[in-house]
Each structure stands twice: as structure tokens, then as C-alpha cells.
Symmetry: D2
Subunit: 311 residues, 4 copies
């Protein structure tokens, strides 16, 4: 039953699984790990799963380009939720292993720069061997091929290991952002603290095209959260832009900005409006004067009166 199944970037025991398990809607689903982001998303496209959780951005490594590129092309998908997960590694070992016993360590290549300083300080002589995933690294420790694996603490139980050290992370505030993706449908209702994602292709390569794109947002008082250029595959110098902004597509200022992009750019793909995670600290920005829904409605009424000679 597809509606009862969520796919995620596996294997079991990865941060992606941990992120997925924070979602209430995951509690009643069958959670199916898959080997690659394309595989995870194709399961949704093909109807074998109702949703998929994939990493999209890491505060240390940047955008997860496979995810960004997979969402930009192919059968349309939409984002319905985002999950932020603080990234802290545990050093998983076979029961009984001491720090002094560790000659080799492993983890996903992305994990390495996030534990490099810790390694230099505590295990300067340990040799690094990359694994296909953090979870796969744990498996290799269990099988005795490597002495220690950097992975989420939650992976210890899955692989019968012990967390020898926990909360390892070179960068403060390291986080990974994951998105829950499904087939296109009506976006969730606005919550008052939402974000809206699109992919935008620029037209003729004229200077200033990017600035014009940004002005479609700016002139309506819509704040950008993230912009990332990606190659279109048509050769060096040809880019599309993956853009997240504040607000919901049903907010008038956001809707008008999206229509402006749609009118003036050769292609725009709407990737969804969904609740913004992790705003405890920053809070929601107050819309710029004149850009609330009430302002839009009042201006529309005024235009109608003007058209009737009653302004």
C-alpha cells in the first residue's frame, strides 16, 4: 500500500531516518530505506510510496545537489514539510573498545570534515576510511573491518555497538535540513511562518537577469531565505536557481512575486509552501509596510473603484 509507506535515504540508522522519525505522520507508516536520492524520489513518483524524506541542505557542506537537481527536473514533486536535525556524531565501537585501541575510523565522506578537528585532537594517528554511509560504517565496525564509526548515536542500537564518545561536531550549530516530498497536491494551509520553494530558469543570459529575478521578490517585500545556483546541464555558464523565500503561496505578496517570475522567466517550477522549521530564535519577520494581505485587498478594491470612477 503506497499510502502507508514513506521512503528515505538509507540505510537504516542514518540521520535521515532519525529526522523522519521526528515527524508525527511517520509513526503510522512503513519506513523504507533506499540506496540513493533518485531511488527514494522515484518511488514516490511511481506511486510506490506516499512520501519521501531526503536531505537538502547542510550548514557545513551546503546544498545537497542531488536532491536539488532531482526536484528541479523529471515528474513534478512537492515539498510538504521540512525537518531540521542538529548534527552531532557519536563514535561507535564494538563493546569494550577503548579510545586507545582505535587505529581506523570510518563514516560517510560528508562526515569527515565535520569531525576532522575532533580527530586531530583525540585520535591524531587514526586512519580514515570512507564508507558509503554512516550506517554502513557502523556495519563495518560490527563486522570488525574498522575500529570506530562516526554516526548518529541512535545507530548504536541498530548495529549492536556502543557510543564511546557522543556529541562530536567541529562546527557549532551544525544542522542538516531534510524535506518531506510527495506528489503534487494542494499545499498545506498557511501557518503564519511558512516558506515557499521554487526553481527558476533565467532566459537570455543578459547581465542583470539575476537582479531582475531578485527584484520580483523585493518589490513585493518578500524576503529570501536561500538561493543556490545549479547548472542546467547545457554547458558552463548556464544556470538555474533554487530559491526559498518567506511566506506561503496563498500570501498575496508571495503569489504576486511568483506570478512575476512566471511571466518574465522562461520556466518556473513551484516546489511547495510549507511550515518553516526552527524559527524559535529568529521569529517571523514582520511583512514590510504595504505587503500584507489586507494591503493587497485594499489596493485591489481601490483599483476597482478607480476603474469605476469612484476612487
Amino acid at each position: 500500500m503506497s499510502a502507508s509507506r514513506f521512503t528515505y535515504l538509507g540505510p537504516e540508522g542514518t540521520f535521515t531516518e532519525a529526522a523522519l522519525r521526528t515527524l508525527p505522520e511517520a509513526a503510522t507508516r512503513e519506513l523504507v530505506p533506499m540506496v540513493s536520492v533518485p531511488a527514494v524520489l522515484d518511488a514516490v513518483r511511481g506511486g510506490e510510496a506516499a512520501g519521501a524524506l531526503v536531505p537538502i541542505e547542510n550548514s557545513v557542506e551546503g546544498g545537497v545537489t542531488t536532491t536539488i537537481d532531482e526536484l528541479a527536473v523529471g515528474a513534478p514533486l512537492m515539498i510538504y514539510r521540512e525537518v531540521l536535525l542538529p548534527i552531532a556524531f557519536a563514535l561507535l565501537v564494538r563493546p569494550g573498545t577503548q579510545l586507545a585501541d582505535i587505529k581506523t575510523v570510518t563514516g560517510h565522506p560528508v562526515a569527515q570534515p565535520q569531525v576532522r578537528k575532533w580527530l586531530a585532537a583525540h585520535l591524531p594517528d587514526a586512519e580514515w576510511e570512507s564508507s558509503a554511509s554512516n550506517a554502513d560504517g557502523a556495519r563495518r565496525v560490527r563486522e570488525g573491518q574498522v575500529d570506530g564509526a562516526f554516526a548518529g548515536e541512535f545507530a548504536a542500537a541498530v548495529y549492536g555497538l556502543e557510543p564511546l564518545v557522543t556529541d562530536i561536531h567541529d562546527a557549532k550549530n551544525a544542522e542538516t535540513r531534510f524535506v518531506l516530498v510527495g506528489r503534487p497536491a494542494r499545499p498545506a494551509a498557511p501557518t503564519g511562518a511558512d516558506k515557499t520553494s521554487v526553481v527558476i530558469w533565467l532566459g537570455d543570459d543578459h547581465p542583470g537577469a539575476l537582479m531582475e529575478l531578485l527584484q520580483e521578490y523585493a518589490v513585493r517585500g518578500v524576503n529570501l531565505i536561500r538561493i543556490e545556483s545549479r547548472p542546467t546541464g547545457e554547458g558552463l555558464g548556464r544556470y538555474c536557481f533554487s530559491v526559498d523565500c518567506e511566506g506561503h503561496i496563498t500570501d498575496r505578496r508571495v503569489g504576486e512575486a511568483l506570478m512575476g517570475l512566471k511571466r518574465t522567466c522562461p520556466q518556473v517550477r513551484f516546489l511547495g509552501s510549507y511550515p518553516r522549521a526552527g524559527l524559535a530564535a529568529a521569529g517571523v519577520a514582520v511583512p514590510r509596510t504595504g505587503t500584507s494581505d489586507a494591503d493587497f485587498t485594499a489596493a485591489s478594491d481601490w483599483l476597482n473603484r478607480s476603474l469605476d470612477g469612484r476612487a
Copy 2:
């Protein structure tokens, strides 16, 4: 009967009357000269006239500030037509007067800079005396107070004078623009070559406020024709802007720009959308890519599909 009456800036024999008589709708009306722009417009506001013709801009002298300021405040009025009149003066004299006989010349103060070079070349010794209007100057010539009056050639017959010299104008292409003003009503249907006039007050006096105003037009691909700053009367440094742009309020790009101004500026007064005069030479600019009504409709349809998950 007010509906049968048009007022204009008099007296009889001025360029304003000549401009008014070029309008087909003037043929069947009683044309009533009045002594000042406020008087002309108040007659319309008060219902004593259906329309009024007043000068608003001169290619040599610039904006006619009385007209601009009168339209900006008080009971709302709207512009329904504009008339361009080439400005060429005739030197009107009593029958029989020769150039060598002329010791004194007159005309409205605005006329003087437009005939200064001609005077220097042909009547270097003649003394200038300002009159309240060009037509009043003609009257003074008839009464023998002055020898020659600069006025429209058409004024000769009205005042029993002869045009001794015609087609006098220091500046090439000198023109005055007049507007036909009435009480607010539904604007005339778009013709494909229209202009739209507004008055805009800026809010807090922050640097860049004018640029933000211009961006509301620019980002929708609406071209400006004229912008003029005027004091608000609240002290030096406080201005409002009188702005004409290409297009009709029913053009989607214009309507959205006006709504953007309405939302973000403390006050906007719509002064009308009306056919643009005198485009023979320049032609109508092709709207920028993505700003035609069809583009707006397509983008609106796309937004609706996106809201339904069908984009």
C-alpha cells in the same frame, strides 16, 4: 445646462481655446472662458460645466504648476483627453502698422522666453510689457496701449488685428499639452496607445523612497513618460510626484503597478487613463517580455493550478 458647457483658461483667443476647438466633443458645447485655472476647474467640480480644458505642460517652460497642483488636491477630477498644440506666435498689430513702427510689444510672461531670440533679431529696440494673457495683450494693442502683441494667429480676428508676422517660435518643436478634465467616471476604453496619470505622495522621507516608487513601475515593465516633483506645502524637502506612464489602468501591468504604489505609498490619486496624443513619430513601445495581458492571465492561471497542486 452643465452637460452642454466646457470651461477653459481664457480669455477668448488664447491657445487654450484653440486647443479646445480641435476636440470633436467641443463642437456641440458652449465654451466658457474663465480667468484662472482654479476657476476653470472649480466650475467642473461644482457641476456648472461638464469638462474643462487647461494647459498642463509646455515643452519650453515645463509643467504648468497651477494645473498640476489643482489636480492633486481638492475634490477629485479626472483627465479624459489630452491635446498637443504646436506653439507658434503671430505678431498682431493694428491694421497698417509696419515693423518699423513698433516700439512696444506685449504678451503673457510665458510667451516672452519663446520669442526672445526673434525679438533680438527683428525688433532689438522694442520694449516688452507683460500682459495677463496673450489675448489680453491683443486687447491692449487694439486699444492702442501697445504696438504689437504676441499671440496665436487665430486671435487676430477676435480682436480686429492683423498678423504682421506668423510662425514665430524660438525653440523648434515647441508644443503645449492641454488636458480635458471632468468629474471622476469610468475611464475611456483603452485604445492601445494610452497613458495613465497619478499623483503619489512618498511616506517617511527615507533615502531611496523615489527609487522604490520607480521600481513599482519598472518591475512590471511599465515605461514612464513624465515625472515631476511638487512641494506638498508642508515645508522645503517635502514633495509629491506627478507621474504619467504608458498604458491604461485596465492593462494588467499598469493596474498591478498602481496597486503596488497604493499599497506602499501613503497616498495615491488616480488622475485617469486616456488616449496618448502625438505618437505619430515615436510609436507605441512594445511591452517588455512577460508583461502583456496574456502573460498576466497565463501566470494567474499557473498560480491557480499551483494552489491546486496541478501546476
Copy 3:
């Protein structure tokens, strides 16, 4: 001796004379009234006077277009000082005249809208007759042609009249701004609260040309104080812009903005940098981050180091 002479827009007893007398440098000069702004300025151009005081802006009437246009063309002149004068009229009468005796009043046409409400309240039946200047109106009262003249209170003594009522002004905070003009020379040293005036001609009439002009200021953090469009005389739709900004030409941000205008516009005329009058209330704006002279110097040093591979 030209160096000992200042011209001003006369006749004696006008607000312009009063403004001129507030300047310390006027105390030791011969002050010569002249009949028109062109005459006043030509005396400076021709070397017959060292300086000239002319009105340039009125908080009620707006820009004094004759002055603006005269400074824009012809032999170059520069502004060295500005003077703000609160505009308050006195009603001048022959000694012994009572309010009830007044049947006719006069003044310069510009004065009329500034006393209109006062007239309606206090002399509703008095008839207005325009004079060539407020001072000329006073002269006509002295000669018995009119009963009362609106003029500066200081004109009473000049014309042997009495100020029957003083401090008459319809608009609150009404002020006129005057500029002291001379032949081009090195601008006065910056005071920390200066302004810089230029006239800018736009090139090809492309949409957005005005916005590009404004961006040359904005991107360097230079605030605009005043912008006024003026016809170039080449036909309707062709304008130049008279622009005042904050700061002194020796401020790096202002100098770079002016060079940007000079590079990208077909013509720019520098009209001077001079102390800004009347800042008691508002104060000087703090330059935007990164636009102080120290910031420019530091950036220039950095560029030089970069060119040497030492950044």
C-alpha cells in the same frame, strides 16, 4: 569694481534683498537690484558683479524655474551659499489706513496663493491686483494706486508705509530658498553638513534611465534632497534633472557618484557644493555603512594591495 558688488532679484524691499542681507559677506558689498533672474545672473557672468542672490525654491510654489533653467545652460555658474527665509507677509498701508478702508490689495502673483486664506477671512471683499513684485506693489500703495500691499515687513520703511498686519502666511513653515551664485571657482571647504547640486541630462530615452541615474547615488549611499525635472526645450518628453544631494564633492562617496553620472549620462553640469542651511531640526544623516571617506580610503588601499598580491 565687480568684486565689491552683489546683484539680486529686485527691486529693493523684496524678500530676496532681505535674504541677501542675512549673509555676512553682503555687509561690505554694494547690493544692486536687477529686474529679472537672467539679468541678475548675466551681471555675474559678465564680470560686473562678484555674486548674485536669486530665489531657487519655495515650499509652497515649488522650484523657481527661471533660476533652475538659467543655471542649467549658458556660461557656467556655481552656487556657494544657500539662504532659507521664512516667508511671512505684512500688509503694508499708507499711514492711517484701517482694515475697513482697504478695497484693493496687491502683490507679486506668487504671493497671492500664500495669503489667499487670510484674505478670505479678513478682507473677503478686497480686490486683488497683481504687481510685478511685492516691492512694486508697495510702491503702488505709496502712490495711492492701491490700498494695501502684501510684502515683507522690512519693505515698509523703504516705501514709507506701515505694516498694518504682520506674519501673514496661509501655509505653516512656508520658506523660500535662495542661492548665492558666482563664477566657477574652487568650492568652499566641506563643513560636514553640505549639499551638492548638479544638472543631469539623460541619454537615449530608455525606460529606466531615471532609475539608473538614481542608482548612481544610491549605490554609494548618497541621499537625495531634491530632484526636479525640467524640459530641455527639444520637445515634450525630453527632460533634464536638477538634483541636490547630501554631502560635498570632496566626500569620496559624492565624488564617485558624480563621476558615475558623468560617465553614463551625456551631460552633467556641476553647480557647486556648499553648506546646507536649516539643518537645526533634522540634523545630518549618518552616512550608510561603508561610505565614509575612511571606508573609501581603506578600500582603495585594499585594491592596491590586491594589485600587488598582498591583500
Copy 4:
């Protein structure tokens, strides 16, 4: 001898080595492969090598984030040359192997998406195994661990293999861009077709900060070639931008834009001005009116004359 040595991202037989060998300056150097971009660059920083060649952008995969991030922080390095290499893979096999014999194929993970369609069409049943590099894949084929390796045709000779199929590339015009990096020194002289690279950190996270950054370029007529956001490592939502523009730091328009960025952004790192590769097709854009060096010099002269009262 460090001056005689260039490092590159190894091992031998990679595209990076092939790119390096296209440079004349490589002909007389010892070319030393290293295992990672950080290692390659640290050899230059430490003085063990005079230069280093690293990939920085791929037309299919996008920016090489390790390279971008390594250049953004740590001891400064500068780019002196760029090399474009068309990416076409050969399928390398042990001598005698036929297409029908191939059950397993390998290559660097980045190679996989670039040969995926070819694999689906010609070897739909072959299993993919990632290798640490394309060259390492070739080594594994030689050792009999895998049947075929996707690598540059030039790698065949290095590893004693045969190119069974050549010119394999899913995307048309696939190219990788490499940069030759050295310790900071005076940039090479401008060639007339140069580019300039910087890394820019935005300050306070205000909406519009990115647009202001772009305006520093736009207002001086400097065209952008590439912009890429990268996390600063301070948490999600904090980015710096890696930007390439047209022109050389000694071009006045570029120098002024860089100084504008330096003034207004908290940090700017200059990464070099160097000849732009691969412009045969597009040609060099003509600078916008008013932005040539001659225009800058003329404007500077005008400013100096204005400061002296001689403009």
C-alpha cells in the same frame, strides 16, 4: 624545488592531469598528484609547490564545493589561469574484453550521472561500483576486480588498458573547469578577455543584501559570469558568495566594483584576475556605455576640474 613543482588532484590519469598537461607552463615542471583538494592546495600554501591545478566547476555537477570552500578560507591563494576540458569518457577494459563480457563497471561517483544514459542503452545489466577516482577505477580494472572503467581515454596507456568505446557523455557540451592556483602575487596583465573571482560575505542578514551586492557590479556595468552561495559554517541561513565577473582588477569598472564590495560587505577575498578560457563562441561583451577605462579617466579628470572650479 618548489618552483619546479605543480601539484594536482590525482591520481595519475585523471582529467585533472589531462587539463594540467594542456598548460605550457606545466611542460617544464614536475607534476605531483595528491589525494585530495586540501592536500593539493596545502602543498602550495606550504611552499612545497609553485602551483596547483584543481577542478572548480562542472557543467553537469556544478561547483566543486571542496575547491570553492578551500579557496575561501585559510591562507590566501590566488587563481592565475583557468582550463576548460570537454568531458568525454572512454570505457577502459583489459585487452581483449568485449562489450558482452562486461558485468561490472566503475568510475568516480561524479562520473556516474554523466554516463548513466549510455549505460542504460548499451550495458543495461552492468552493475555500477564507485571508485575513489576514475583513475583508481582503471587500476581496479587492471587488477581484475571490475570489468570496465569510465575514465579519460588518456588513462588507458597509464594503466595498460584499452579504450573499448570512446567519447561517451550523456550531456552535450559537458565540460569541467579547472583553475591553476598559486600563492598571492601580482595578477597577470589584462588580456582584454579576463575574469575576476572573489568571495564575498554578506553582513547583517537583511532582505535585499544580495541585491545590493549585485548592484555594486551592475551600476559599474560589470557583468557576472557565475555566482554560487556557500554556507559559512555558522548555521543554516548564513551564506557567503563565490562570484566570477567579466574583466580584470586593473579595469577601472572592476576595481571600483571591488572597492564598493569591500566597503559595504564585512569581508571580501580577492581570488585573482586571469584570462578567460573558451570565449571562441561567445566573444567578449562590449562594456556598457560609460564604463571603459577611458570613460573613467575622463570622469576623473572632470571631477578634478570641478574641484578646481574649471569643469
